[in-house]
C-alpha cells in the first residue's frame, strides 16, 4: 500500500530493512502528524504532579500541535489545543501556572479550563455599533479538545476517534511495568530539555535499541550497570509499538566483552567516587536495576537505578526533535533517597554520563544518510521478528516500532 502524498514504498524484505528516506521526507513528516500524533494513539502530556492544585495548567504538545493541560476547579484534568478560535494565536503563553480561565492576549477572548469558549470581547459591539453578526458561531471554531486519561499519575491525551482505552492500548505488560515504577505519589524534582539534531524516529529507535546500550555507552559497561550478559529481557507489545528493556543489578561477571575486544570494556577505567553515583537502593524490591519503557509514539519512562524520569519526544521539524525530561521521586522519599536521586541524575540528560551520547548518535545517522537516497539500514539482530525475548542482543523492539508505524501510516 502506498502513501498518498509521497508514493514511497517500503522495502520488500519487511521490518529488517528501514529505508533512509523515512527520516528526510517532508510530506511523510506532515502525514505522521496527522496519522500518528493526531491519530489513534495516546501521547503522554505531563505528570499529574505537574498540575498540583485546582486551576493549574501546563503547556505541552501533541506532536507539532501545542496543547494546554489543565486541572479545573473540580480537580478534573483536561487538555485542548493551544490555539484561539478567533485568529489562531497561542492562548497560553506560560509553561505552567495557575488560572481560573484562559484569556487570549490578542483580542481578549476567554476560555474555561476545559477549553470551551466563554467570552468574545465586544461580541455585540459598543452602543449598538460594530460587533459580530448574531448568526456567527465562533464556538464552532474552538480549539480541539483532547480525550484525556490519567494512569498511574501520568496524563495521556488523544485526538483519535478510534483510539482504544488507554489500558487496552498499553497492554498488560506495560500496565504492570508502569505501575511497578509509579509505586507512590510522584514528586517532580526538576527538568530540562535537549535538542536532538535528528528526525524524531531516530531518537525513538535509539531508545528501543537494546543492542547499542552497552556498546555505545562505555559508562554502562565498565561499571556493570547494563551489560548484555546481565540477566534481563526485552518485552515488545503485541502491536510492536511499545517496548520494555530491563536488566537485573546482579552481574554474572562474564568476560564476553573483554574477550571480544570491544572498546567499551576498558578494564583499567575506574572512578574515584563510584558510590556517589552508583550506590543504589532496591526501592522496587525486585532486583531490577534498569528499566527503559516506551509507549508509541513518543513516551519514555526511565528507571536507571534510583534515577527516575519521563521523557517526551516532541518533533520540531524534519531533522530536529525536542526531548523534554522531567525527573521525579516520590512524596514518600526520605532525605537520603532524595539526595541519591539527585546524584544519580548525573547519569542522564544532555550532560549524563550515560545519556549524553544518545543525542549525538541520532544526529550522526541523520548526517550520515544525507546522500543515501534509496539505501536501507539493516535491522536484523535477533532475526526478523518482533516477539519478546530474554536476549537484548536484539533489535526486536526497533522492528516492533516499524511494525506499528507502518500500520498507522498505511505504508
Amino acid at each position: 500500500m502506498n502513501i498518498h502524498t509521497s508514493g514511497r514504498q517500503w522495502p520488500a524484505e519487511g521490518l529488517t530493512r528501514v529505508p533512509y528516506w523515512i527520516y528526510s521526507d517532508r510530506a511523510l513528516y506532515d502525514e505522521e502528524q496527522e496519522r500518528i500524533f493526531r491519530g489513534n494513539t495516546w501521547t503522554f502530556l505531563c505528570m499529574e504532579a505537574e498540575l498540583p492544585r485546582p486551576n493549574s495548567f501546563r503547556a505541552s504538545n501533541l506532536g507539532d500541535m501545542p496543547v494546554v493541560v489543565t486541572r479545573d476547579a473540580n480537580g478534573v484534568i483536561h487538555a485542548f489545543e493551544n490555539r484561539c478560535a478567533h485568529r489562531g494565536s497561542l492562548l497560553c503563553l506560560k509553561e505552567r501556572g495557575e488560572a481560573r480561565e484562559i484569556v487570549c492576549v490578542y483580542h481578549n477572548w476567554t476560555y474555561d479550563l476545559a477549553g470551551n469558549l466563554t467570552g468574545v470581547a465586544f461580541r455585540r459591539g459598543i452602543a449598538g455599533k460594530g460587533g459580530m453578526p448574531s448568526d456567527c458561531k465562533p464556538e464552532q471554531h474552538a480549539p480541539r479538545q483532547l480525550q484525556v486519561e490519567v494512569f498511574a499519575g501520568l496524563v495521556f491525551g488523544t485526538l483519535g476517534r478510534n483510539t482504544p482505552p488507554l489500558e487496552q492500548y498499553l497492554g498488560p505488560d506495560h500496565v504492570a511495568r508502569i505501575c511497578r515504577v509509579m509505586r507512590a505519589p510522584a514528586k517532580v524534582i526538576g527538568g530540562y530539555s535537549q535538542i536532538i539534531p535528528s528526525n524524531w524516529k531516530l531518537y525513538i529507535e535509539n531508545v528501543k535499541d537494546s543492542y547499542h546500550a552497552s556498546l555505545l555507552h562505555m559508562f554502562f559497561t565498565t561499571f556493570r550497570l547494563n551489560r548484555l550478559s546481565q540477566k534481563g529481557g526485552l518485552v515488545v507489545s503485541e502491536t510492536g509499538g511499545h517496548h520494555i528493556s530491563y536488566s537485573m543489578t546482579q552481574d554474572i561477571a562474564g568476560k564476553e566483552y573483554e574477550q571480544a575486544g570491544l572498546r567499551s570494556a576498558n578494564e583499567t577505567y575506574r572512578l574515584e567516587a563510584p558510590d556517589m553515583l552508583l550506590k543504589n537502593v532496591d526501592e522496587f524490591r525486585d532486583g531490577i536495576g534498569l528499566q527503559i519503557l516506551t509507549v508509541f509514539p513518543g513516551f519514555v519512562l526511565q528507571q536507571i537505578r534510583n534515577c527516575l524520569a519521563v521523557r517526551r519526544v516532541v518533533p520540531r521539524g524534519l531533522d530536529k526533535t525536542e526531548l523534554v525530561w522531567t525527573c521525579f521521586g516520590f512524596t514518600t522519599d526520605d532525605d537520603a533517597l532524595a539526595e541519591l536521586r539527585l546524584r544519580q541524575a548525573n547519569l542522564i540528560g544532555p550532560a549524563g554520563f550515560i545519556s549524553m551520547e544518545d543525542g549525538a548518535a541520532a544526529g550522526f545517522v541523520q548526517r550520515g544518510v544525507a546522500g543515501a537516497g534509496t539505501e536501507v539500514s539493516l535491522v536484523e539482530m535477533g532475526g526478523c521478528g518482533t516477539a519478546s525475548e530474554e536476549s537484548r542482543v536484539s533489535e526486536a523492539a526497533v522492528r516492533g516500532f516499524w511494525k506499528d508505524y507502518r500500520r498507522h501510516m498505511g505504508l
Binding site: Y192, S193, I195, F219, E272, A338, L342, R343, A345, M356
Partner: protein, 157 residues
Amino acid sequence: MNIDHIARVADLNARYADAIDTDRLEAWPDFFLEDGRYRITTAENVAQGLPLSLMYATSGAMLRDRVTALREANIYESQRYRHVLGTPLITAVEANGLRAKTSFMVARVMRIGDTMLFATGCYEDHVVMNARDGARFAEKTVILDSRQIDTLLAIPL
C-alpha cells in the same frame, strides 16, 4: 564597592574559564576546595525551587571523575568552548570569603567549524580565600538562562 573583591573573583573565574577553553580539564577540579560543590541547573528549576542538576558534584573526587569520564569513556564529537565573562557582582562579604554573581556566555565550536551561542547564564559563586590554597570555589552554581541544551553538554561550563 571594593575593587579588590571584584578583582579576586574576576581573576579566579578568568583562570577557571581559560582552563576549560584551552582544554586543560585536568586542572579544572583544582579551582575547587576538596569538599567543594559544583552544579549546573536551569533558571526554570531555580524559579520553581526544584533541586535537579544537569551536573552535580560534591567533592574533588566527583569532579575528577567527570574529567576521567570525558577523557576515557564518553563519546562525543570534538568541540571547544569560548567563555565570555561579565563583571562580578559581589553579593556578600564574609569572614573568609565572598559571594558573587558573574554573567557568562559560552560559544561552542564544533570539529567541523560550526560555531553557536551554546549557553548563557550566571555563576553564583562562593569563593573562599586562605593562605594555603589561595582563592578557591567552595561552591559554584551554574544557572542556565534557558532550559534547552543543544545535543549534549559534555564539557563543564
